[in-house]
Amino acid sequence: MRRVAIIGTGQTVFKTKRVDVNCSELIFEAARAALDQAGIEKEDLDAVVFASAPEAFEGVHAPDCWCADAAAAIGKPSLRIHTGGATGGSGALAGFTHVASGLFDVVLVAAVQRVGESPDAQKILNTIWDPIYEKDFALNIINACAQMAVRYMNKYGMTEEQMALVSVKNHLNAFNNPYAHLKLELSVEDVLKSRVLCWPIKLFDACPRSDGACAVVLASESKAEKLSANPAWVLGVGASTDTYGIGDRMVDDEFDLADIGAFVRAVREAYKKAGIRNPRREISVAEIYAPFSNLEIASYEGLGFCEKGQGGKLIEEGVTRMDGDLPVNPSGGVQASNPIGATGLVRVAEAALQIMGRAEGRQVDGAKTAIATAAGGAAQFYTAMILGKEKP
């Protein structure tokens, strides 16, 4: 297998609406920053992967065509990845595949979502459901994930206080991240008293909707070693797709809706490739795609950080806080910024920054191995990527 490393990352500042730039300029900001960090120019790129989720957000069909120049794709092979919320994670995996194939040495993955163009993100996300049978039930991502929370509470006894602890941690972490959208100093009580969106998810359990872009440069072994003093090596990747029907996720004996079976499978595949047997010990830091606090708790188990049903305890013990021994989402995570199609790539970029030792105020000391995950559809598509300091 060919070795692949991340040698540069770029992010925009995330905000509800970036009125100062158009969509191309937003991408350019992230792409330029990633090229700068990698110390290369667009001429050095062999291919481009464009990643963006529903174009209903931008209101332009084929945004990859519209913004091809900003993504440095002109005259180069490029294609667009779209797997809903998992888009950024899938884009990173596609970039990895480009380099691992041996056909390309240096590849840019550029992800964007201009959620600010749409008056109501959840209204657009309602259009992911079947127009005849399901759309009219007012399904959206908040109530889909609330169903997962309810199932998890019922099965494992998770409390709203445990969910609130996750929100407090993530919003506090965001203060150390210059790119973060929301920086909130919250108490558990603030979270519990915040407006109920769809029980048990309350306003401060939820992610914002953000405008923003992210870009990552991946390189082959020889290029990475030549161009970067501290590349983040890709140790393992995995992806898995679940059923469309949420009710169909209750038939598996090992995993039901509470356990996020497809997520577990994606993570296990990545661990297998990376040779990780004891993630609780071997992973130094995790950037996971959890737009709602309940999903972070369920993800702890899927990541193998604790036994099934013990996720709530992990946050109570403070293990995943910045001062704990396995920090999760030092960036503030998705609860602090959610530029939907770019969010998964932000997780990868943040994990890479940790490995490169460039995460500044949010740096986890001595981070050696990091995992980044993404989730998309109505919790249907999952990706995982493990990055490490040492060449595999």
Binding site: M1, R2, V48, P54, E55, A56, G59, V60, H61, A62, D64, C65, W66, A68, D69, A73, I74, G75, K76, P77, S78, L79, R80, I81, H82, T83, G84, S90, L93, A94, F96, T97, H98, A100, S101, G102, L103, I124, L125, T127, I128, D130, P131, V237, G238, A239, S240, T241, T243, Y244, G261, A262, A266, E269, K273, G376, G377, A378, Q380, F381
Partner: protein, 373 residues
């Protein structure tokens, strides 16, 4: 480690003006046929690549509904929001990476569900271009006008493409339009946007296509007649119409050159036995022949009239254009030809075939594959 990748299974639905099956039934049909053709079962699949457009499907994140119909349940699946040929490229890269020994790629569109004019007008930015009534037809007409003006291409030369492609479709049981037309009928068909008349434009319809790819050892154990991917290339052009010479399909030229370089092809017109090119309109078929170096620029009409190279024996998009599946169908047709399985549309001694897919308007993104025995 062998770097050879083969196409080992082909599956296609019939291409029809308005299919009554749901999107997932269509996709299930194509994927099942491709797996059966490869002699594989779903459990043998390691990777699933999907290719489609949310806007054409009328659902945001349409792969939510369609992924499992393509066999993706608990598999490593990814969706490319491009023409299916780019999905083929993604599947190829996945196998070449050594992380997968096989992959299915599935593309589809159900054009009967919406208006292609309205959907493609959304390709343009809302402020500066959309108000000009730009869409797939009008921008294709601008391109055709420029091409005709630059090289003196007559409406009759273009119409001959329609006559030939429609005639070829008679031999293709999957084709949507299966009737011959006379050149006068093409010329007198309804004007859409000068110089494009209704019959010059490809025939938007419903359909799905699936291909199974496998690495060398697996391909050889599955079939005695694998069709090898000899060359593959894709490239991206500029978006703004004023930034490009519309008469030259620059990104197709680049894609073709990459594919030829990989396949070791120096003289395409002599070495390639047949081409399935993306004939969005009759004019575009001629432009594509030039950009693919089958003939010099401006000689597309002459080269086509000579008839030395079988072009679009399937009948092309002019007979059937299930939008995002159309490039993948070109590859499927190429595989059937090289495998000697193209029945009524078989080109004799087809050993090397070229297939071509397009994403974006005015051929902004092109992907070319060369398939060989």
């Amino acid at each position: 480690m062998s770097e050879k990748v083969a196409l080992v299974g082909v599956g296609m639905t019939k291409l029809e003006p308005q299919k009554h099956e749901t999107l997932y039934d269509m996709i299930f049909e194509a994927a099942s046929l491709a797996l059966a053709d490869a002699g594989m079962e779903r459990k043998d699949l390691e990777s699933v690549v999907l290719a489609a457009s949310d806007l054409v499907d009328g659902v945001s994140i349409s792969s939510m509904v369609t992924a499992t119909a393509a066999g993706a349940y608990l598999k490593d699946e990814i969706k490319v929001a491009d023409d299916g040929m780019f999905g083929l490229a993604m599947a190829y890269l996945r196998i070449r990476s050594g992380h997968f020994s096989n992959s299915i790629v599935v593309g589809w569109s159900k054009c009967s569900q919406g208006s292609i004019d309205k959907i493609t007008s959304l390709n343009f930015d809302p402020f500066y271009h959309r108000p000009f009534a730009l869409n797939l037809v009008t921008t294709s007409a601008l391109q055709a006008t420029r091409y005709a003006d630059r090289y003196g291409v007559s409406e009759e030369e273009a119409a001959r493409v329609v006559v030939e492609n429609r005639k070829n479709a008679l031999g293709n049981p999957y084709a949507c339009l299966r009737s011959e037309v006379a050149i006068d009928e093409v010329l007198s068909s309804r004007m859409l946007a000068s110089p494009l008349k209704e019959m010059d434009l490809s025939n938007f319809c419903d359909g799905a296509c699936a291909l199974v790819l496998a690495k060398e050892d697996q391909a050889r154990s599955l079939t005695d007649t694998p069709v090898w991917i000899r060359g593959l290339g894709w490239s991206t052009g500029t978006y703004y119409l004023g930034d490009q010479e519309l008469a030259e399909l620059q990104s197709l030229r680049e894609a073709g050159q990459k594919a030829y370089a990989m396949a070791g092809i120096k003289a395409p017109a002599e070495e390639i036995d047949l081409a399935e090119v993306y004939d969005l309109t009759s004019y575009h078929q001629l432009m594509a022949l030039e950009a693919l170096d089958f003939c010099p620029s401006g000689h597309g009409g002459k080269f086509f009239a000579e008839g030395s190279l079988p072009i679009n024996p399937s009948g092309g998009l002019i007979s059937s254009n299930p939008y995002f599946a159309s490039g993948l169908i070109r590859a499927a047709e190429g595989a059937l030809q090289v495998g000697g399985r193209a029945e009524g549309r078989q080109v004799p001694q087809a050993e090397l075939a070229l297939a071509h897919g397009v994403s974006g308007l005015c051929y902004q993104k092109n992907c070319v594959v060369v398939l060989g025995r």
